[in-house]
Symmetry: C2
Subunit: 117 residues, 2 copies
């Protein structure tokens, strides 16, 4: 038998919902924010970020560190460059990457603290 899986009755608590609705960031902001978290949500990229939180490193060394090809690392660094999680500088044939700002470190710290509660 057909069944509609949406709440036919209105809100359980309309006031709360309306208040939340007003205070949720704009769609665009939420999406940008989710991009940041999604990028940090892959083990390979997270290791890259953790490594860069300690030392500025070139692509080749990151690849060796993680046991992946330079190509794979390059692809991931490209993604991280987009929303400015990492920055880079050229030094001859090498390209050195580092974290772009301090917030990323804070995210790492808060995340690690959550794990040990």
């Amino acid at each position: 038998m057909p069944e509609i899986d949406t709440c036919e009755i209105s809100f359980i608590d309309e006031n709360k919902v309306k208040a939340v609705q007003r205070n949720i960031p704009l769609e665009g902001t939420v999406n940008q924010l989710s991009v940041i978290f999604k990028l940090m949500g892959d083990p390979t990229r997270l290791k890259i970020i953790l490594a860069l939180s300690m030392e500025e490193l070139c692509v080749c060394d990151i690849a060796l560190l993680l046991g992946l090809t330079r190509s794979a690392i390059s692809h991931q660094l490209r993604l991280l460059r987009g929303p400015r999680l990492v920055k880079f500088r050229r030094a001859g044939k090498l390209v050195y990457y580092s974290l772009d700002d301090q917030h990323v470190k804070h995210l790492l710290k808060d995340g690690l603290e959550h794990l040990s509660d």
Copy 2:
């Protein structure tokens, strides 16, 4: 012609790499951490988390708030329950969800700050 895409030469800067290698968290910790970030990296789940950072809400109201089915929300909340990002309590037929601890709020704050730099 066949080509091997791994650094045949050793590390560019072996000391730095070794130091980083020693200080990177254990594989398991990195994975757990990446799970947290990945969960926050989906717009739907992030909106749920943002909503719950303001108010305790039942599944039905979250579904209405986001314009998705209760089933979809239920699936996502199940994922968020795993690593204890959210907790819940029953109240009759309703189940109310809220953030499990304060670290998640900090993660939201740091992330939003990163966006406005």
